[in-house]
């Protein structure tokens, strides 16, 4: 390993392994220190450029440290998120949960810095298998099932990616993780893209996300919302930039997520749908593939991590304090959770691309890139999705959670209050970053892969945004009775998988079971009798045939032996006599043969 390069994944892994041994009053400072060290390593690495920490394994060159602007900007935001996420869950006493989160973060660092497909695959699998514990550690009624579905989907995605990687290796003879030839895609190009797209929750491979994230622990969801999909966005930006199909898929994601979020009753599942929609903008930007679009996708990934984690922290606080996540069991919480409300609203304004809030400086980059690339249909539909984003996330979420009809039970109302100091501090930090990035985008723009000449603070853009938000708000207040949350769930494409699984179980427990039983009966009635007859014949044959031959041979040998035994008297003179007689017979036979 090159001395100048410090891998933050290594810090997180070693840090995670030591957590169980750091107890008592040292635990909290330790939990704060390790992500801080990882952040320091990322800052230190950002001054480098090139390939570091290579290792020759058989014919493959494994690269653990590929540093350029693309990897640096993603590693930077992941390190910030590791600090905020750990601060938010600082009071969690379960060491294993912290370990799972840090292994997950380490996997993300590994995937971002790696330069070959082999280590990329291993780090992505590390992410999948560590993050599932963040779902299971909630120990909720449905968490176990959701976790199994999550890991099953990601294992399938991993296998598809591995097939792609192996086919590519066979075709090109190296494992280098670089931009694929997206304009002349081979089978391996599609397989690798599908493997990444599944992690990015691209429709129709998205259903695992709202399902799993809504069932995760209150702080586990804060990590989950940031790392998996944005690491996938990084991999798509690295390998599939300019792949046309991604524009279509991204636009579908942006709109599909909006419709489901409008219908959703669970506050954290709504945010899950919101991730599908917002990652759609990034995927579309990567598909457009111009410098502005790639910059826009990266900037949107960065700000999305900030505001989405803030929103998951706000809703996680509601879950942590009240134990509830449904609009139909909440409402009117501004009275009991004012601090949480303020931070959540900052997150809502940030995702809605309100001026001076985070997404204002990134979402419009992607849409502008769409118009500039003459993909007007995509740009229009993304604007349409932006209106929907403000509708469900900027208005529906805060209104029905904090201001609307109070649906809380007495017990829920009694429990509701702003959460612990560390959770409030984490939300305050996230809020501050959302406003700072939205107000002063220059720092972020300088970190992006390509030089940025885009200025979000034009008068026209400001007027466009204010008009859009103002009149969406008008429509919401006129029509809000039509989107009042109902105590229902929304069926999605996972219906086919769940029902497919149940069909399989039904086939196994009904027709196959019947056939098995019938076969057993038939065998007992018909097969067993013939088998017994056959076995009796073979028993007879064995006794009289085989045993007869074997035993007869043995008896013959024994009889011969009895006769020969007479010759073996044990007296020397008899032995000499027999031997001499035998030799004499041989000699006589020889002489006679010579005479004739």
């Amino acid at each position: 390993m090159t001395s100048s390069f410090i891998h933050p994944a290594l810090i997180m892994i070693v840090g995670a392994l030591l957590i169980p041994f750091i107890r008592g009053p040292l635990r909290k400072p330790y939990l704060f220190l390790v992500p801080l060290l990882a952040f320091g390593a990322v800052i230190s690495n950002s001054s480098l450029h090139g390939i570091f920490a290579t290792y020759q394994f058989m014919d493959w060159r494994i690269v653990f440290g590929r540093i350029d602007k693309l990897s640096t900007v993603f590693a930077f935001i992941m390190a910030i998120m590791a600090m905020i996420g750990t601060l938010y869950g600082l009071h969690v006493d379960n060491a294993k949960e912290h370990m799972a989160a840090w292994f997950y973060v380490a996997g993300s660092f590994g995937a971002i810095y790696c330069g070959d497909y082999l280590s990329l695959f291993l780090f992505l699998e590390m992410m999948a298998f560590s993050s599932v514990f963040l779902i299971w550690f909630r120990r909720g009624e449905k968490s176990l099932d959701s976790g199994y579905r999550y890991i099953l989907v990601h294992a399938t995605g991993g296998v598809i990616l591995l097939f792609g990687i192996l086919l590519r290796y066979q075709a090109v003879g190296n494992m280098t993780f670089n931009l694929l030839d997206v304009h002349h895609p081979e089978l391996y190009t599609w397989l690798i893209m599908i493997g990444f797209a599944l992690n990015a929750a691209v429709v129709p491979m998205h259903f695992w996300l709202p399902d799993a994230y809504s069932q995760a622990s209150f702080n586990g969801a804060v990590f989950l919302c940031a790392f998996t999909t944005k690491t996938a966005v990084y991999t798509l930006a690295r390998a599939c930039a300019g792949m046309d199909i991604l524009v279509v898929l991204g636009v579908i994601m942006a709109l599909y997520g909006v419709i489901y979020a409008i219908m959703e009753n669970d506050i954290r599942k709504l945010l899950g749908w919101s991730i599908v929609s917002q990652v759609g903008y990034m995927v579309a930007g990567i598909g457009i593939g111009t410098e502005l679009a790639i910059d826009g996708a990266c900037a949107h990934a960065v700000v999305h991590i900030l505001y989405k984690s803030l929103l998951f922290m706000g809703t996680g606080s509601v879950l942590y304090m009240t134990g509830k996540t449904k609009f139909t069991e909440l409402g009117g919480l501004y009275k009991k959770m004012p601090g949480t409300m303020v931070f959540t609203i900052i997150g809502c304004l940030s995702i809605s691309a309100a001026p001076f809030f985070a997404a204002y400086i990134s979402k419009s980059m992607i849409i502008t890139a769409g118009f500039e690339s003459h993909l007007n249909w995509a740009a229009w539909l993304l604007m349409f999705g932006a209106a929907g984003t403000f509708l469900y996330n900027g208005l529906k979420l805060p209104y029905f959670l904090f201001f609307g009809k109070n649906n809380c039970s007495e017990e829920t109302w009694a429990k509701a209050a702003d959460p612990t100091w560390n959770m409030m501090m984490a939300m305050a930090a996230g809020s501050a970053l959302c406003i700072i990035v939205g107000t002063f985008p220059g720092f972020l723009y300088r970190m992006l892969p390509y030089p940025v000449e885009y200025n979000p603070y034009t008068v026209y853009h400001l007027a466009e945004t204010l008009q859009l938000m103002g009149f969406v708000a008008l429509a919401f207040f006129l029509l809000k009775k039509y989107i009042t949350p109902e105590d229902k769930i929304c069926l999605d494409v996972d219906w086919f998988f769940r029902m497919g699984g149940r069909l399989f179980m039904w086939i196994a427990s009904h027709p196959l079971q019947w056939f098995d039983t019938a076969w057993g009966e038939a065998y007992r009635a018909v097969g067993l009798r013939s088998l017994m007859t056959t076995s009796r014949f073979w028993s007879w044959f064995d006794w009289h045939g085989i045993d007869g031959v074997v035993d007869g041979f043995a008896r013959s040998i024994r009889a011969l032996g009895a006769r020969v035994r007479i010759l073996q008297s044990g007296q020397v003179q008899y032995s000499i006599y027999y031997a001499a007689s035998f030799v004499a017979i041989l000699l006589i036979a020889y002489v006679l043969s010579q005479l004739s």
């Binding site: 349409f384 204010l466 039509y482 989107i483 069926l491």
Partner: protein, 88 residues
């Protein structure tokens, strides 16, 4: 914060009236600014284009979500649990 919200709730008509004034102000602002940097011809030609776009988009999204949800996509909470129980 709680007191501010309750103060505004007690004067809801004034708040709503202020919001309408703000909307009117946004429309006036959109009419007087330079639109030559708009991405599309519609944006350049119609000063309140994005006001209409936002309102119509929200109405369409609410309509589609309601129609889609009530066409069978939104179902009872124990939908999957029930099926599990039947299987058991």
């Amino acid at each position: 914060m709680r007191k501010i919200i309750e103060y505004l709730q007690a004067r809801l008509k004034v708040v709503i009236g202020t919001c309408y004034v703000l909307l009117a102000g946004i429309v006036v602002f959109a009419c007087i600014i330079d639109r030559t940097h708009a991405h599309t011809a519609e944006g350049r030609a119609l000063p309140i284009f994005w006001s209409l776009f936002g309102f119509i988009a929200a109405v369409i999204i609410i309509g589609v979500a309601r129609w889609y949800g009530h066409s069978g996509i939104m179902t009872r909470e124990d939908y999957y649990d029930d099926h599990s129980a039947q299987d058991d």
